[in-house]
């Protein structure tokens, strides 16, 4: 584990990346946008940290942590056996994200120096002033990491423990937990817990979420980010067309759009009358009377089936003159002169 880098400014990763100079002043209006989007006050340190990384990338193109992705994970605070335990849900990490570095950022409260121990003065030593023993060393801070799978009820598998010398005053620290996060992910245990144990009973108010809640940053290289449509995978959360629009091929009557329904209505009434009237070939009504009389055909009998196989056209010489259309009783096929056929085709 890296020696604890402690500094007054913003926490940065403990593996030597240059530090952020100015303390808690978040960059630009992005912080305000982030605060409103998150419904958090600007004091949310993880957001400020991420904004700092974003500004650094945007200004200098410095790839964060050498990769193309930084994921932050906020802590969910629970009290287990009267101890404050922070839980981190790492399930939003994508399989294509190769972890480069993971860091745990936490705020060390200023050490509560134990009161100087008062020794009873010895009655016989008159002039000896009642000396006060110097206070004992401040309690050391222990950091315990456990990982558990989503539905495990246990405390989880101990993944790492660190003993930290308490800093001279309250400030943010960062610890490299890359090996812990990689091992937990390898074992499919994407729920991580961190317990900051200073050996003392946690104060009753500890279960209150504090602006100093710890957080985890995971620096990764997303191998899928160069795929053609990688931006849609993570940013396109729904179709650009709001749900509820009927499918274009849905039954027209179900559409909300009156025009569509009206148009659909008109085409279906056309269908109701059936194709015969519309597709009647011209000349059928003008058939010479004798033909009608002789055969007593009704119109629809000419069309035994809606789809007639096309008959090869008779050669020019044996085509009948205009007006002599005789329906040969032998075949149901109708022969029309060229002009009629042209009109029909045009129709």
């Amino acid at each position: 584990n890296h020696p604890g880098h402690s500094w007054t400014g913003l926490p940065v990763i403990a593996d030597g990346v240059q530090r952020d100079k100015d303390p808690q002043h978040p960059p630009g209006d992005a912080a305000a946008a982030a605060a409103t989007a998150l419904g958090q006050g600007p004091q949310d340190m993880v957001t400020v940290h991420m904004l700092r990384l974003y500004e650094k990338y945007s200004r200098r193109g410095a790839r964060p942590g050498g990769g193309n992705t930084v994921r932050s994970f906020r802590a969910r605070l629970e009290v287990v056996d009267q101890k404050a335990v922070y839980f981190f849900n790492l399930t939003s990490m994508q399989d294509s994200e190769m972890i480069l570095t993971a860091t745990f950022h936490f705020y060390s409260e200023p050490p509560r120096w134990p009161r100087a121990r008062e020794m009873p003065c010895k009655p016989r030593a008159k002039n000896a002033s009642c000396r006060l023993l110097p206070p004992g060393p401040p309690a050391r801070l222990h950091l315990l990491f456990r990982s558990l799978s989503q539905n495990a009820a246990t405390h989880g598998l101990l993944r790492g423990a660190m003993a930290l010398a308490p800093p001279p005053r309250g400030l943010w620290q960062a610890k490299d937990i890359s090996s812990i996060v990689k091992a937990a992910r390898r074992d499919g245990e994407l729920l991580l817990s961190a317990q900051l144990d200073s050996g003392e009973k946690d104060l009753p108010g500890v279960s209150r979420p504090s602006p100093h809640a710890p957080y985890i940053l995971v620096y990764a290289n997303d191998l899928a980010i160069s795929e053609p449509n990688s931006v849609a995978v993570t940013l396109q959360r729904y179709d650009p067309f709001p749900a509820g629009d009927p499918e274009p091929r849905a039954a027209p009557n179900s559409s909300a759009d009156p025009r569509v329904r009206r148009a659909a209505a008109s085409s279906s009434s056309a269908q109701a009358s059936g194709p015969l009237q519309d597709n009647e070939l011209p000349g059928l009504d003008e058939m010479p009377a004798h033909v009608h009389h002789a055969q007593h055909y009704h119109k629809h009998e000419f069309w035994s089936s809606p789809f007639r196989a096309l008959k090869p056209r008779p050669g020019r010489k044996d085509r009948r003159k205009k007006g002599q259309d005789v329906v040969t009783t032998s075949s149901q096929m109708l022969d029309f002169d060229e002009k009629t056929m042209q009109k029909a085709r045009r129709r």
């Binding site: 982030a34 993570t234 729904y238």
Partner: protein, 110 residues
């Protein structure tokens, strides 16, 4: 828009994430200059459209009319830039991703 050059070139386009409904989870940037490519790639192509060898041949074949139906080469992005986006994931954790090919630097006929 009207004084845009006829030939394939980069045109200005600013994308506002609010226009495409992503602004609820994108913290930064709120908008960015994406640009786009448009214009002719017809024979003879000027150097500025940086045609590939294939595009040059295709435009000649089309101009000569050897093979009917051959289209003009396409005016497409050539050099592109990345964009860092800060957004909230499904668990409302803040994520920074650097997406490649998000804005057009130069266009060319291909």
């Amino acid at each position: 828009q009207w004084d845009e050059p006829r030939f394939c070139s980069r045109r200005y386009l600013k994308v506002d994430f609010a226009d495409i409904g992503w602004n609820e989870w994108i913290l930064s940037p709120k908008s960015f200059d994406a640009y786009y490519c448009a214009g002719a790639c017809e024979f003879p192509m000027p150097k500025i459209v940086r045609p590939s060898n294939h595009a040059t041949i295709q435009s000649i074949v089309r101009a000569v009319g050897i093979v009917p139906g051959i289209p003009e080469p396409c005016c497409v992005p050539d050099k592109m830039n990345s964009l860092g986006v800060l957004f909230l994931d499904e668990n409302r954790n803040v994520v920074l991703k650097v997406y490649p090919n998000m804005s057009v630097e130069t266009c060319a006929c291909r």
